[in-house]
Symmetry: C3
């Protein structure tokens, strides 16, 4: 039966066979149809260099098949085995502090290590070759939650190769990095070091002396891990045409998922909200993940049925939340609802992480009952939602480059966080009930009436032109403080702020104030007064009309929010760090003009 | 005259001989009869490899003897000398961050260093040989405040040897550490690394990916330092039958003092309470120290007469506190009341640490007067309390393994600290005036009517059976949330919580909620309502009667405290993080049943 | 025309020539007459070892000359170039954590590196040789904001050489460092390590086991950087007699500017106050800088016209503040008012730092207008203030040694910070309108009626005698808690506190209480009651009269403030951490006696 897949991560290699029977008995009770298998079995399937042993994995996959369950089969490279780290010390990472790690934990493979590259691809090849024909296998799962960064000499070498590719000449690189500043002009590629606590950074990963170097390293590292993924995928593709994915992590800063999207056959992600009131944040994450593949459905690859373990305080999901949030995922485009984990491990750091089946092996617990009830509901749903798409006339631009450069900048205010700004504008759209797509800055914008670009610090390529086109044909474009500041190299535009967005916005910004969070500047919007904090741009209209004004400080009475008639549409500029009410006021004005307020907008 | 020993650490090697006369003159005024000598004289008595020079120490000991004072003589290995670190770089430790230290500070000898092992034992041998016949010497003092940890390659090698001893086979080790998780299966002993920031730990010493590895390293490191102590003791024993000790530190997490107890001829400890209101904490520490040697008296080896220096803020002990706390030590079993330090040093980091004699050399200061008054009191006391023992019918279980595994666990709530829980239950017993012993989980429990086991995360050996026996014969056993969770290897019991304690408690726990400290769940206990915080286990009675219930959240009305009739006695289970009033309510119920409330219980 | 110099840091090598025209056009508008040039051009003027290329710098200097502007010409050694770090890895520093850095950031030259020493001096020599004859050049600027510290082996070697120079024998060194404590007696110079996180320090740079070692390393490192400055200055002097300076940083702890003062031809400093209400702090900094050269005028080398970039939150300077603070500098002795920076860079970490000319290239911004208005004002002022001096009868002693030893001490209270105490007493003097000099402890005190020495922890040389002379001839000497504690080696005086200050103060201090900041002890002063916090010395009068008494705790009623008649004058002692009102009360009493209250003292 075609239906929303239901199941999750299953690691029976951790327990005796006798328990497997009980597992499948309980899976039946809960209508579990899909198991993610083998994510961490490298040490088991490849116990020594050149030695491969698939006996246990064979039995796991065969049993799943025999029970009629589908398998999302991992290549097993989510963590490397001890023997590999011992034989090739290069495979463990060197951290931001310059410390070469040794075997341990989970995320520890250097993406530039030849040994890791060769042996992970070889394992992927063998797994694909062996199980391509299994009737249970429906998808391939590569690696696990790619992330982090390595600063080793191999990565340094690979970074320099990546830079040669990007810049061709040192002159181009010196210009992009603005190396005349602080005597940094490089005269030999070999002089270039990864930006770390030992080189360019003076207080952690966000405080760098050279934003351009750090930005390029972020891009490079994202690409380096993508190359690992591609290598495994290529190895799989030689034996199987089934879709290949890896589990992403929503709004995860270290990796530019937009650069990865083309290589994923479908998107999937792990949803671990920080608290019980994260519904809006999750909505954004779902939309971002759906937006990776142009609106194509994704898998919810992991969620906990009850609690996490890795946080300082790990509260229980309240009754009903599991159901509510699972349906939210489906509503946002998920074609699979999967758990981490099907059964709790007995040892190591996830033994207290929630599981469908606990240490007591019971079906009469609240958690199991909720899981089983949801299984029954999804079964009744059948294929009603599969492959469904939501046509949206609102686009929210999400841009890793802007995220990175905003947060690695010195000045004006480190407390302005990219995600906070994006969340605020997304929240307003979500509360207003607008259907929306979260898309990259390279997306085709011709289908949208409203484009919202919060904190779009970097404007690159022909984006400004395409945004102008949206307004020209009658659409509305909204952007905020700290947008239009830098080009693709993080060089400030040598012109008035907001750079290439200035014509569309009909304003300029000569100066900007920053204050700690306890300083509030009231902003007058129509008959309302809202609060603004952290960042206060002093906006000089140049064609735009004033929509809102500051109420305090030496710039009281000057514009905080403006609207510029541009062609048949509008450019909206929000220069102040408005509170939720302020953002809602502006966003609803914009939506209302296009009749895009949802039917339940008043309930928010 | 036999009496409570009175005196303290005395380092006259730091000042000219002329001052020694004044020292002894003031000692006489203060009735000082015992001096701890030579704790940091390695550089003096062994100024180069193979060179020994006891001239100064001879004069110190001879002068003490001549003055009629006893000497607790240190081997001098509390800190190693510069020449040793220079000649053998191995003797300085490698820290948790993987950094090899160089000479400096105080606690810096790698316990696995052959050079340190050989030369510290040799120094101990020579000291014992030389001073065994001194009439002044009454005890030997080895090392100083053993503690910390080393992560060097020598310790790695020693750890692997310790593991081979413990597990014999890699299969056994892999099972104990649950290495199938995250691809950790070890196929060669050489693959095993000390768990550190460079290997298994992701955020400091408590955040490990593999609890089993970290637990074993804690055990190993405690044993490694014990081996250092044993080596020195053996060297001493060849020349002297006098008792050997080292100064412990009360509730000190890094060392499992219960594993050390057999090797100490008598216990001694250094008492530096964090503030003026630590009387209950000190009572627990005294009881724990007394419990090391089955109730035998101990020495209070160090306390400050006035103030510490190493804290950010070092308040003065208010007038009278010195006397009060010294008598508290005696009341809890101390046969010696000693100070750090007899005279203040002029330089380095302890020059502002309180001393019996200050830089001004005066006898007319408040502090000196208080010291002298107490000296006179102790002289009047004579031998009245020496060797005294307190028969107790209440036992509090204290368990380093549970301490360690509770605090290195991921989930459910890192804010639940073992010591906080133990302190809360001890405090309730102390306020109620119950005589009690603080004992290890291996202690003989047959003499106790009440056994309290707070946060007994690990249950090992036959402990569950012995606790059942206490209840079976009419006693009361009380345990709390997060007890009975793991076996000796930190593997979750594959059964209902609280594992082997479940039959005695007559309950099971399917799920547990954790919340930040600002969330309060009121608990109804009889006619009282108390508060609970941090941890809220959802208790399902299986024979137990409900004593207290939650007042809020989705589990309002369900049991928070239960009592189970077991044989002629009871098993009490407290599933909630009760406040002091709640703990007192439960503890007094238990004590009252056995008529163990003290005469002044109502004064608390 | 002789006038207050006006201009700032100018880095046209960062932008195309076309922009230079606009720069000078705007400079004319703003009456800019002085440009600091070449601070970071090492990579440009010396692009490879042995290769020098002054083409760009020639054009910059020539253009300035042609425009009639003066140049403060830097040697360009404020940051070293990539090729140098690559060729000589020794030039990058090893940090406090023992990590050898690699190329990056700005402050990274090891002062002990032979390569850095040789090549920086050679560059200075060539710059001086080439531009000595330029009519535009008016001063030489060496390095940039010297600071930080290095802990490499070369520095270790240089430290040992410095120690041999200071102590001659190991016996003298062992005595000074009090190495008998904790078995630290050094028997070979080679055993001595720089005090770092890997050796003597147990929690950051202030927490050391051996204060003497850390103190000497601070002195050594200050001297090591001074040697770098001297080497460049000597190279310049061979070709030019123009004055040489480097930009200092006001109250900057790592460098003892008093040890540098003789080598500076004039003082200059960079003023970046942390907030809008730092006028008193800036006044102290100006006075300290003026005091370096015996009252001779100094340059304000850098200030931002609008905002900083490197702080977490970088607020705008409110309108008018730039003018107010610039005039404050002139009033305190500045003969130059310069900005960082003349034009904003487009890339790297200072692109959002304020500038006279922003990315928009405008003259019609508020900031540019304020800069231009001030330029016009200074032009009108002409030479009226040049070279002016303020005769003062009040001296405030500022002492880096006391700063260091106070803050690296263990006990009594780490929350007592040297600068807070000095600021409090300076503030009181400043509010009272007293003209004052901020001078080193070696200064000639014969011209002062009042000498204030807050937190003078170390008393060295003949200072006590000279302070007694001030009082003897009718002057007033005021000191506070934690003064007179240690000698030049940080050894506690073997006598009553406050050591050599005791006769003058007529008191002794047997004990001292320390409490966290929420504990207040009211102090009665005349008819007022003020608050005291953090430190409460218990003062025993020995000739002094009681001026103020504690109101609480067991020492209620005992003296907190005393005054001792000494010769024709007074010694005042403040034993308590008084609040601002309390300090003001005492300070005004002292000033009033000498009729030194300013005319606007009541406005404060
Ligand atoms: Zn790498
Ligand atoms: Zn070691
Ligand atoms: Zn160095």
């Amino acid at each position: 039966m075609r239906k929303v897949r239901y199941g999750g991560d299953y690691n029976p290699e951790q327990w005796p066979d006798a328990v497997w029977d009980r597992d499948h008995e309980l899976f039946d009770l809960a209508r579990i149809d899909t198991l993610t298998v083998g994510v961490f079995v490298w040490a088991l399937t490849n116990p020594a260099e050149g030695v491969y042993d698939f006996a246990v994995l064979d039995r796991i996959v065969e049993r799943a098949a025999a029970e009629g369950r589908s398998v999302c089969l991992a290549t097993g490279t989510g963590a490397h085995p001890p023997w590999l780290a011992r034989a090739y010390p290069e495979v463990t990472r060197t951290d931001f502090e310059g410390r070469r790690h040794r075997f341990g934990q989970r995320h520890n493979s250097c993406p530039s290590s030849p040994a890791f590259q060769r042996l992970s691809a070889e394992l992927a090849r063998r797994v694909a070759q062996r199980y391509a024909g299994s009737p249970a296998v429906v998808a391939w799962h590569v690696g696990n939650e790619y992330g982090g960064a390595c600063y080793c000499d191999l990565c340094g070498e690979a970074f320099r190769a990546w830079l040669r590719q990007r810049y061709t000449t040192l002159d181009a690189l010196n210009a992009a990095w603005y190396t005349t500043f602080w005597s940094h002009r490089f005269t030999d590629w070999a002089q270039i070091e990864p930006p770390s606590a030992l080189t360019e950074h003076w207080r952690g990963p966000d405080h760098t002396a050279f934003q351009g170097i750090t930005l390029d390293y972020l891009r490079f590292m994202s690409d380096a891990m993508l190359a690992n993924f591609r290598a495994e995928k290529a190895a799989i593709r030689a034996h199987s045409g089934l879709p290949v994915t890896t589990n992403l992590m929503g709004m995860y800063r270290p990796i530019d998922y937009h650069r990865w999207a083309d290589d994923l056959d479908f998107a999937s992600w792990d949803n671990y909200p920080p608290d019980d009131t994260s519904q809006a944040r999750m909505a954004l994450a779902h939309d971002l993940m759906r937006g990776l593949k142009g609106g194509q459905p994704f898998w919810l690859m992991e969620q906990t049925p009850s609690c996490t373990a890795s946080r300082d305080v790990n509260p229980l999901k309240r009754p009903g939340l599991l159901r509510l949030w699972s349906w939210q995922a489906v509503a946002h485009g998920a074609d699979a609802v999967l758990y981490f984990q099907m059964r709790a491990s007995r040892g190591a750091c996830e033994k207290y992480h929630g599981a469908v089946i606990g240490h007591g092996d019971r079906s009469d617990t609240r958690v199991f009952r909720e899981v089983a009830d949801l299984g029954a509901e999804l079964e009744r749903l059948g294929d009603a939602t599969l492959g469904a798409r939501t046509p949206a006339r609102v686009a929210l631009l999400f841009d890793w480059d802007s995220w990175w450069v905003l947060e690695i900048s010195d000045g004006p205010n480190r407390l302005v966080r990219y995600l906070d700004v994006v969340l605020a504008y997304h929240r307003a759209l979500w509360d207003a009930g607008a259907d929306l797509d979260v898309v990259p800055v390279t997306a085709d914008l011709t289908g949208y009436d409203v484009v919202v670009a919060p904190a779009l610090h970097m404007v690159k390529g022909d984006l400004a032109t395409r945004l102008e086109a949206v307004a020209a044909r009658g659409g509305s474009v909204l952007t905020t403080f700290l947008s239009g500041r830098v080009d693709v190299d993080d060089l400030a535009f040598p012109s008035d702020v907001p750079g290439p967005l200035a014509p569309l916005m009909g304003i300029r910004v000569d100066e900007w104030d920053a204050r700690p969070p306890d300083v509030v500047n009231p902003v007058r919007l129509g008959s309302s007064t809202v609060e603004s904090r952290l960042i206060f741009e002093l906006v000089v209209p140049d064609g735009a009309e004033v929509v809102g004004t500051y109420g305090a400080d030496f710039y009281a009475g000057t514009p905080a929010v403006t609207r510029h008639a541009f062609g048949a549409g509008h450019g909206w500029y929000v220069g102040a760090g408005l509170d939720g009410a302020g953002v809602a006021w502006v966003v609803r004005r914009v939506l209302a003009r296009h009749d895009l307020l949802g039917p339940y907008a008043d309930l928010a």
